[in-house]
Amino acid sequence: MIHRALPALRAAPVWIYVILIYGFIFLPVGVLVLFSFQGSRVPVPPFNGPSLQWYEAVFTDERMMDALTNSVIVALASSLVSVVLGFLAAYALARHRLPFARVLQGFLTAPLTVSYLIIAMGLLITFNQLGVPKSLLTVGIGHVVINLPLCFAIVYSQMGAHQANIERAARDLGAREWQVLALVTVPMMWPALFAGFFLSVTFSWDEFIIAFMVSRFEVTLPVEIWSMLRTGLNPKTNAVGSFVFLISVATVLLLDFVVFRRKKT
């Protein structure tokens, strides 16, 4: 009996540690979501809900809804551009023997190693210098800068030799180059393209510092939330924060479900 109990006893600190660290990880998120249903005006204990009034406040707030629309537009458009440019570059580098291929690869992935803050500042100074007005377009340009390397890396890593053989077969059967690309390569690379696109969407959707620095009147949702923080603790911020979280998790789950389930079968 003692022999059986001993391992269990020795395992106890392990599980206590697991509970504590999961508690630490989930504490702020739990508090955020819980107090988004707060009945009174401050998101601190005691909790007197549940109430949906703050969600109502968010969805009837016109500025907030404009920011939401802007975020969706920027996320979809910049991710589409990123994945198309990333795919074309990955195809060129994986299928053709270009001189300095390693250098070009490093060149395209270089933005991954620089802080968003620095990318944002560089763009801000450049746009100012050229007299380009700050707008959603400039935010989208910035988001392509951070997401293009990601899409390129994901697609490039998935371009294997067996797909090259299938492309060659298509070419031997008389397909033109654009037909090979559109009708053979794209369908084969679909999971990687999908993964690149949706990861870019979640990154762009959450991105703050670039959107903050190179936008002016039309802002994205994180920037709008940022300006709400000036009012201090506010259940409405909880509500919009929980909503943003929900969208991100849904996107990630969709990605996981579509791409990884497909791979297994």
């Binding site: 395992a11 540690y17 697991v18 660290i21 999961y22 630490f24 990880i25 989930f26 504490l27 702020p28 998120v29 508090v31 955020l32 107090f35 998101p43 601190v44 204990p45 440019l85 570059a89 195809y91 060129a92 580098l93 299928r95 053709h96 270009l98 060149f107 270089a110 933005p111 190693t113 620089v114 802080s115 803050l117 620095i118 990318i119 500042m121 560089g122 763009l123 801000l124 100074i125 450049t126 210098q129 800068v145 293009l148 390397p149 390129f152 979640t202 959450d206 703050f208 620095m213 994180p222 939330i225 940022w226 923080l229 603790l233 909880n238 924060g241 943003v244 979280f245 991100s248 998790v249």
Partner: protein
């Protein structure tokens, strides 16, 4: 392989054509802005005017003015603290997930461990404000337990910044270390045990060195992301003690001194590059 030379040439031209859009985008919106920023850092702002004379004045000012230099020191201190604490907290979790949790539950446990990763950056720092600020969850808990008599605030200081950062980076490091641990073959440990090493010795001399690449990749990412972040210290740290990104934003927002802000950004990049060079040895092992 039956391609005749002219067709081969056109294939190569076509490849360059496919590469070109991504290439031009990266030059126009990444490398060119960095170069312009580098140039700007050598200019000065005099009054409200930009003077385009090349000099190192901004960099001299950085070392001469204590509050500018101090913000770099603060940034490095906070970042090192965050990196060390995060590794110490994440390693046991990754180890337990990889070794103690049954295989079929591992995926779910890992997804749960990194779920808050997907809250937006701004919102995550705000959530910690809900926990740490006066009247918040922690203060209330202490009041209920009778440990304090009055509401206390844990926000607006370095500790709050560190907590906010550690929360994020524990998730990141758990991922990289877990990914490293599950690749290890158990036969290494068995061999160590067969050769007479106890569990502790086997861990210290076999498992730990083999997971060093995972630790280093995660620690490097932590360092880079942490030292360049403006949001967390701005929301949680208050304004009594500034970190480098906050000082950079202050130069832009309050003083619209773009040359000085550029110089500070270049210094930030230099620090990150130095750390990269220091870690490059381990970062490469992982790639091979």
């Amino acid at each position: 392989m039956t391609d005749r030379p002219p067709r081969y040439l056109s294939a190569r031209v076509r490849a360059w054509g496919l590469l070109l859009p991504a290439f031009l985008w990266t030059i126009a919106f990444f490398f060119a802005p960095l170069a312009i920023m580098g140039l700007y850092s050598l200019w000065q702002r005099v009054g409200t005017r930009l003077v385009s004379e090349i000099s190192l004045q901004n960099y001299e000012k950085f070392f001469a003015k204590s509050f500018l230099f101090q913000s770099l020191v603060n940034s490095i201190e906070v970042t090192v603290m965050v990196t060390v604490i995060s590794v110490l907290l994440a390693y046991p979790l990754a180890y337990i997930l990889a070794e103690r949790v049954p295989r079929r539950w591992q995926r779910l446990a890992l997804i749960l461990a990194i779920l808050p990763f997907w809250t937006s950056y701004v919102v995550r720092s705000y959530s910690w404000l809900l926990v740490l600020s006066e009247g918040g969850i922690l203060s209330n808990f202490l009041l209920d337990m009778g440990i304090t008599e009055d509401p206390v605030s844990f926000a607006n200081n370095r500790g709050a910044t560190v907590v906010g950062f550690v929360h994020f980076f524990v998730m990141l490091l758990t991922l990289t270390i877990y990914a490293n641990l599950v690749q290890l073959s158990p036969s290494y440990r068995k061999a160590a045990a067969d050769l007479g090493a106890g569990p502790l010795r086997a861990f210290l001399h076999v498992t730990l060195p083999l997971t060093l690449p995972g630790i280093m990749v995660g620690a490097f990412l932590t360092f880079v992301l942490c030292i360049g972040d403006y949001i967390t210290p701005q929301i949680l740290g208050g304004s009594r003690e500034l970190l480098l990104p906050q000082t950079i934003m202050m130069q832009i927002a309050r003083r619209s001194d773009f040359p000085m802000a550029s110089a500070l950004a270049m210094i930030l990049m230099a620090v990150v590059s130095l750390v990269y060079l220091a870690c490059a040895r381990w970062l490469k092992i992982d790639r091979v």
